[in-house]
Amino acid sequence: SSHEHKLNFRKSKEACLSYIQDAMLQKQWKRAAEFLTFYVESLEKDYSREPISPSEMIWRIGTEILCHHSHSSVKEFNCFMEQMKTLGVKRYLKVCLEHVFHLLCNGQIDEAYQNLSLAESWRFGEQTAIQDKEMKLIQAYRGLLDYYRWSKQKNILLGHGKCPDGFADLSVEQEMHSCFRKAAVNLKEIIKIPGVWDLFVKCYVDLLEFYGDHNEACQVLNEYAYNSKFPANPNAHVYLYQFLKRQGESKKSLISTLKILHDIVPSHELMIDFNTMLQKSKKRKKRRLGLEVIFAALDYAGWKENVKAWSCLARQVKQIVISEKYLDWIKQEWNSRKDWWPAFHFSRYLAKRNWQENKSLSYEKALVAGILLGKDCKYFKYVSHQGCKAQVKRFRILKKFVNRHNPVYLRISG
């Protein structure tokens, strides 16, 4: 029969669900809760053929409502989560995990730890094997919390420092080591799986470094950064770089690490360090790369007002101009930028603003503008004029410098 308009259980609940969703989108938590009360009886019906079951809906919706509703308490939330855990065996560990996340967000570390331990000991026939991934995550987070405890105890110990209280310290130390062992095992496990494990890696490396296992740390970081099975992750390279730096490794290895970072994220904040290192290098190729790096960074809007970046560029450009060698480097870099950098960085408006807000910034930029665009460009003219008017010494020097080297501009732009 063609009674599509016939109102039945399913349609009624579908409508109910859309009211809940509307209410949630408009942050009307009371109304969402109200409609949810009418939706929950879906649990008593068989939806095993549908892609998403009511129990999952109720879990997710209920969680949202309880998080945002002004009258809901943590106790209620926990009670709700416990109920949700019993609802779907196939989802048990996932629910546990999300519960733990909420507890962590609310600063309830101890409860979170308890829940994780409880979840870890859960066994349910073949489900245990099926939910293996979630189990690993649970163990990983427990490892993380173990690290957190270790860290606290470490700080206690270090804090005592000069006047140790013998016995108390000993027990803290023992506990600390025990936390370390527990943490290390779990953290090591999880970072074996291809994925993004920034926080876990950092913690694990921290542990290893503390106990002096630098080899292992290095290996872990290299794996994390260079194993192709892992997704491309700029942070991996950052961590590796920072580690190598701490270990006092050679400039060469530092540079090779940062090179990859430059390739992935040209606008990364470490590009300044990178450029600085490269400028100092004796190798021409490295210095060339340095110029490329700093120009690339300044392509990004986030760097527009970064004095340090501009000063790096200015320094290098100045140095090249003075040496009168490798002007073609600048020419190459400027070629692809000469159409849009003037409006992007060197407009008259920006000149005024930079001068008002940050004299150092305007100084560095004026130098670069003067070289790249010549002494008659808007930016340089304005800033140098202002600077000279204000009788700031360096601006006078700047003006002279640019005037002297004006032909360079012609060669670059040519």
Binding site: S1, S2, H3, H5, K6, L7, N8, F9, R10, S12, A15, C16, S18, Y19, W29, K30, R31, A33, E34, F35, L36, T37, F38, V40, E41, L43, E44, K45, D46, S48, R49, I58, G62, I65, L66, H69, H71, S72, E76, C79, F80, Q83, T86, L87
Partner: protein
Amino acid sequence: RDFNERCAQCSEVNWGLTDGGRYYCRSCHNVTERTREVVNTDFMTNSRVQTISKGSRKQEKNGIGSEWYVCEGFQLVLKKQAEALEALGVCPQMKDEVLYNFWRCYLQKSKQAYCNRPAGETVKALSVCESSTDVDSEPERPSLLHLLSLSESEGDLQTDCSFASSMSKVSESTSIYSGSVDGSLYLMKNQKEKLRMTMPMTLSFCYMALLWLREPITLSELLRFVVEGHIPYLNVFQHFPEKMKLCGLDLKIFCVESWPVYEEVYNKMLELAAFLDLPRFPDITDSCFLHPDMLCIKYLMEANLPDELHNWTCRVVKKIGIGEVDFLTLVPGNKSTRKVKYDILAAAVIVVVLKLLFLLDDHYEWSLSDFAEERNKNNKEGGLYFEFKKWYEVVKHSLDAEQKKLDEERAKYLWRCEKPLFYSVKNKSKVLKRRQMVVNLQNQFGKLSGSARRAEKPNPSSFQLRWSEENTDGSCFHGHSLKGILQEKCGLLTAMNPDYWLCTVKLCNEKLCGHLAHYREVDFPRSYHFVLRLFSFLLRIQPSYIHDEVCMIEHKLFNKKLYKKLKYNTVLRK
């Protein structure tokens, strides 16, 4: 109760019956000479009533309740429904005589009771609710899944895999679960020729009885009362006595998860009337509530339209003969005549009248309205002229609000009740646990709902939209005059509107298409759609059904012209 004239003295419609069987006005105690027509319930010519020949009732079999048959369950349902109707004001005759007799007749004709059980129809299915008992050496014991698929689509209970899977685990060769004795038999046999009883059919029974008695409840009203909870339907099995244990396949029979649809109940009623070999129903005369003239009064009031329109509805009714006794009275089994849906018919008449007077082509009615507005502004004394625009705004506002409420109500239905349903003892604990959880969650989130608690179900009322002339904001149009749109021609009042557009030039074959015409909102003027929407809301049916009736009325009305001038497709001159 089927007397709806206004009292001569006080103009109220509030009648009671004196001991002498005369009508008296309850407001002013004016006694009339009108007496109540005696309704003849003597339709069973061949009533050889015999008692149900059942075997000895095994009391407390295995401690889980006594034997009961499916028809006993339905009998209980009907009883409950009749009691509810009585509480709503229907005469007690309905329950005690009419409905009961219909039911007995049905049982007899379908050979479920009141007759000798034909040989070979002994109930074979076992009726235990627990694990397997004696395994029969029946070679063709139907499988459970087969049974599940056979039944009509009564909600989605048949997709409850939990049932099927838990059953299959037990063993296919063991008993077929049902609390009732003949539950499985009920579902199994091809009962088409015997008109197997279903829950929607209980409403068909009720409506049939109401129609027989010519009670002033239309089918759309009946169904609305069901949905509003005034008439038991949804979880009526809750009222079964303890000893009637409901489980297994009984659930498929008695538990519904959808609201019955007008067409469904109506058609079944016709089938039923034919099946029971009922004679011609009591006449629907022009003093009956169900007569279009009467129903039009009600609907005009509810739609906030001027009372003056009633003259026009009566004229249309008279012109096309749909007020004739023979047209309106139900004769079961007569397949040639199109059966009358009183409520839809009356609504459609009003729609046609509106089209006659206002054209409803999205232009004319608004210019008529402007004219009336001008006149109303300048003439403060005398009655107000009816302004279509104002009416539209007022009614739309209320309609939208009520529709919104209704839509929310629909999303808030609670289909399950406290009495849990389980297919077998095996999944009883699971069901109970679930119910407990549902109740917990309802409490938890109910507290967070704030003060917006669910109101008690509203009192049953015949009118869904109310307009009072006492309102000074001018939102009631009952008393408004149609003067602005009428003119006098040869002593007769006619409409100023000279045109009319037909909804369809050719009617479809209802038996093939299911409809007389096919309504698509985009194909028609928005005013027309609005009017359909209004009555669609009041009657709780799809606009297309009203549209069908409108087409039917139009074709009767313009029959001659249609027959002659087949060339002119849409606009006709009256």
